[in-house]
C-alpha cells in the first residue's frame, strides 16, 4: 500500500512543476470515419492524435492547410469544432503470451469477456521488416497436417504461402486445420514427446468477416484444444473500415513479439481481399487519388510491407520466425484480377483451391498444377522428402492421362499403372476437415503407396485402408511411428519394419 502512495506522490510532484506543451488543431468536418483537422502543424505521419472526447485517431494525410485522420473508436463522439491534439506516439497494440487464448479487436482490447489482458509489452502496428543481415533461409517445416500440402507444397517457418480460391472452397478450413495441427504438436512438445521441438504460436486475423464465421472458427479451435496457443484478432464486417485496415498490422505486431523473443509464430490473414477493400474505402474518403479498380496507388505497398514482416531470423537475432498464411478470395477463379496478382507476386508460393475439385469430392480441393511453394523441399523433413519426391509429377501425369483415358478403353499396361497410381494418390489426399494427420503417419502411408502396397486395394476402399492402416500403426506399431519421429528419415532398418507391418496389416484387411 505504501508503495502505491509513494508512486502517486511522485506523479503528483512531477505534475506540479510542469507546463505541458502540445500541438492542437480544430476538427473542420467529420464523416465516414474520417476527420479533417485544421492546425496540427507539428503532426507526423501515422501519429496518434487525441480528440477532446478521448477518442483517438490516426493522421494519414498531411496536407498544406489540413490533416486527414481516421477515427478509431466511436466516430459519433467526434464533432465539428472539437479540439484534437498530437500525442507523439504511434498506434500500438499489447503483445506477449498473455494474448494467447484470447479474442481481441484491432487495438488489442478483449472481446471475449475474459477480463483485461495483462500484456508485458506493446508494439507499434507499423514496423520496418527485418533486413537482409538479420534473415536466414527457411529450413524448418510448418506441419499443417494436411497431407497434400505437407507432401507437395510444403510450408516452412518464415515463409509466406498464399491460400487462394473462390468462395466456399475451404480456404479458411486449411488455415484452421494448420492451427489445430500446431496445437497438437505444441501439446506433444510440452509433454516432451518430441525432440528439439519449437512451439509454434498462432494468430488468426479475421478481416471483414461475419461475426458468425469468427464465432464458428473460435468454437472449432476451442473444441480441438487449439485456443491455448492461439490469438484471434477480429475486425468483423460491422467494424469500421479503419479498424479492418489496421487489423492485419496488429496481428503482425503480435507475431513479431514472438519472433523477437526467439519463438515461432504463424499468422493467418483471413482475408486480404476484404482488407484491400477496406483500405480502398479509407483512401477514397480521405480523397486520395484512385487507380485501377478504384484501389489507391499504394495498395501493393500495403500488402508487401505487411507480408515482408514475416521472416526467419538468424540465431544471433534470436532465431525466431513469423510465418504468414494470407488468404485471397477470387471471383469465378480469376487469379489475374488486381489484388490476387499483387499478392501472388509478393508471397513465396500459393495453394490454389478449385471449385470443380471441391464439388467432385476432392477435399481439400487443392489444384496440384497451380499450387507451388518456392521454398520447396527445404521445408520438409527427410522422411517426407523420401516418399513425396515424385508425387507431384505422378499426379501431373495422371491428370494429363485421365483426360485421354475417358475416350479409349484400350490402354497399355504402363498407362494403366500410372492411372491407377494417380487415382489412389487422389484418394489418399482426401481428408476430412479439422482432422490433421501427424507427419509420421503421413510418411508411413505415403511409403506404403510408393512401394505398391495400395495397388491391389480397390480405389473406393483406399480411404478405409488408409484410416485402418493409421489406426493399426498407432495402436500396434507405435515403435515404428516413434522412430520416424526421432530419426526424421526412413532408413533401411525402418523400411524392413514398415514392410513387415504392412504385410501383417494387409493380411487382415478386407
Amino acid at each position: 500500500m505504501s508503495t502505491i502512495l509513494e508512486d502517486i506522490e511522485t506523479q503528483i510532484a512531477g505534475l506540479k512543476t510542469s507546463t505541458s506543451k502540445s500541438n492542437v488543431g480544430v476538427v473542420r468536418d467529420t464523416g465516414d470515419g474520417v476527420a479533417r483537422i485544421e492546425g496540427l502543424s507539428d503532426v507526423m505521419l501515422n501519429e496518434m492524435i487525441e480528440f477532446s472526447s478521448g477518442v483517438v485517431g490516426l493522421a494519414l494525410n498531411l496536407e498544406e492547410t489540413e490533416v486527414g485522420a481516421i477515427i478509431l473508436g466511436d466516430t459519433t463522439r467526434v464533432m465539428e469544432g472539437d479540439e484534437a491534439r498530437t500525442t507523439g506516439k504511434l498506434l500500438s497494440v499489447p503483445v506477449g503470451k498473455a494474448l494467447l487464448g484470447r479474442v481481441v479487436n484491432t487495438i488489442g482490447e478483449p472481446l471475449d469477456g475474459k477480463g483485461p489482458i495483462k500484456a508485458e509489452a506493446s508494439y507499434p502496428l507499423e514496423k520496418i521488416a527485418p533486413g537482409v543481415i538479420k534473415r536466414r533461409s527457411v529450413n524448418q517445416p510448418v506441419q499443417t497436417g494436411i497431407m497434400a500440402i505437407d507432401a507437395m507444397v510444403p510450408i516452412g517457418r518464415g515463409q509466406r504461402e498464399l491460400i487462394i480460391g473462390d468462395r466456399a472452397t475451404g480456404k479458411s478450413t486449411i488455415a484452421i486445420d494448420a492451427i489445430i495441427s500446431q496445437a497438437r504438436l505444441n501439446k506433444a512438445g510440452e509433454e516432451g514427446r518430441l525432440k528439439d521441438f519449437r512451439p509454434l504460436y498462432c494468430i488468426y486475423v479475421a478481416i471483414g468477416q461475419k461475426n458468425s464465421n469468427v464465432a464458428r472458427a473460435l468454437a472449432v479451435l476451442d473444441a480441438n484444444g487449439a485456443m491455448p496457443y492461439t490469438t484471434i484478432v477480429s475486425a468483423p464486417a460491422s467494424d469500421t473500415a479503419a479498424n479492418q485496415y489496421l487489423a492485419p498490422f496488429a496481428g503482425a505486431a503480435m507475431g513479431e513479439w514472438f519472433m523477437d523473443n526467439g519463438m515461432d509464430a504463424l499468422i493467418v490473414y483471413d482475408d486480404l481481399s476484404k482488407h484491400a477493400v477496406a483500405y480502398r474505402q479509407v483512401s477514397l474518403v480521405l480523397k486520395r487519388p484512385s487507380g485501377r479498380e478504384a484501389y489507391p496507388g499504394d495498395v501493393f505497398y500495403l500488402h508487401s510491407r505487411l507480408l515482408e514482416r514475416s521472416a526467419r531470423v538468424t540465431e544471433e537475432a534470436g532465431g525466431g520466425s513469423v510465418t504468414a498464411l494470407p488468404i485471397i478470395e477470387t471471383q469465378a477463379g480469376d487469379v489475374s484480377a488486381y489484388i490476387p496478382t499483387n499478392v501472388i507476386s509478393i508471397t513465396d508460393g500459393q495453394i490454389y483451391l478449385e471449385t470443380d475439385l471441391f464439388y467432385q469430392g476432392v477435399r481439400p480441393a487443392i489444384s496440384v498444377g497451380l499450387s507451388v511453394s518456392r521454398v520447396g523441399s527445404a521445408a520438409q523433413i527427410k522422411a517426407i522428402k523420401q516418399v513425396a519426391g515424385k508425387i507431384k509429377l505422378d499426379l501431373a501425369q495422371f491428370r494429363e492421362l485421365a483426360a485421354f483415358a475417358q475416350f479409349g478403353s484400350d490402354l497399355d499396361a504402363g498407362t494403366k499403372a500410372r492411372l491407377d497410381r494417380g487415382q489412389r494418390i487422389v484418394e489418399l489426399f482426401k481428408q476430412t476437415q479439422y482432422n490433421p494427420i501427424p507427419v509420421e503417419e503421413q510418411a508411413a502411408v505415403l511409403w506404403a503407396m510408393q512401394n505398391g502396397y495400395l495397388d491391389s486395394v480397390p480405389v473406393e476402399k483406399i480411404k478405409a485402408f488408409q484410416v485402418k492402416l493409421q489406426d493399426h500403426l498407432r495402436t500396434r506399431k507405435e515403435g515404428i511411428l516413434n522412430s520416424i519421429v526421432t530419426k526424421k528419415a526412413i532408413d533401411k532398418e525402418l523400411e524392413t519394419e514398415l514392410a513387415a507391418a504392412l504385410d501383417e496389416f494387409k493380411s487382415t484387411f478386407q
Binding site: 507546463t19 505541458s20 506543451k21 500541438n23 492542437v24 502543424s41
Partner: protein, 130 residues
C-alpha cells in the same frame, strides 16, 4: 467543400502576394480583393472563399490567446505579451480571455501550439496516469 485546382492555385497566389517583408499587409489584401471583385474572373467567389480561409489560418498563426482562470493584472499581462513577442516576433496579436473552467493557472495558444499549465489540465493528466 470541393475546391478545384484552379481556385486553389489562384487563392494561394493571392496569399503569396499579400505579404510585404514577410508580414501580412492589410492594404495589399484590400486592394487585391477589390481588384478581384472588379475583374470578376471565373469562379471568383470560390477564390475569395478559399483566400479568406487561407488568410484566417495565417492570422491564427500570428495571434495568441491567453486564457486564465481569473483576470490578470497589468504587470503580469505585459510580461506575458513581452515574452511571447520575443519568441514569435513583434507582429503577434494577443487576446486575453477569462475562463473560470481552467480552475487555476493559464493556457496560452499560439497558432497550433498550446502551453497549458492550468489546474484542469494537470488534473486530467493525473487522471490519465492513475
Amino acid at each position: 467543400m470541393k475546391v478545384n485546382k484552379e481556385v486553389r492555385q489562384l487563392s494561394r497566389q493571392l496569399l503569396r502576394a499579400s505579404f510585404t517583408d514577410g508580414q501580412l499587409d492589410g492594404g495589399r489584401v484590400t486592394s487585391l480583393v477589390k481588384s478581384l471583385i472588379e475583374k470578376k474572373p471565373r469562379n471568383y467567389i470560390g477564390v475569395l472563399d478559399a483566400y479568406k480561409r487561407l488568410l484566417r489560418l495565417e492570422v491564427e498563426k500570428r495571434s495568441a490567446t491567453i486564457e486564465s482562470a481569473t483576470e490578470l493584472n497589468a504587470e503580469a499581462s505585459a510580461k506575458i505579451v513581452d515574452n511571447l513577442k520575443r519568441k514569435y516576433g513583434p507582429d503577434l496579436a494577443t487576446e486575453f480571455v477569462v475562463n473560470p473552467a481552467l480552475l487555476g493557472g493559464m493556457r496560452i495558444r499560439v497558432g497550433s501550439d498550446v502551453w497549458d499549465s492550468s489546474v484542469r489540465n494537470r488534473l486530467q493528466r493525473l487522471q490519465e496516469q492513475l
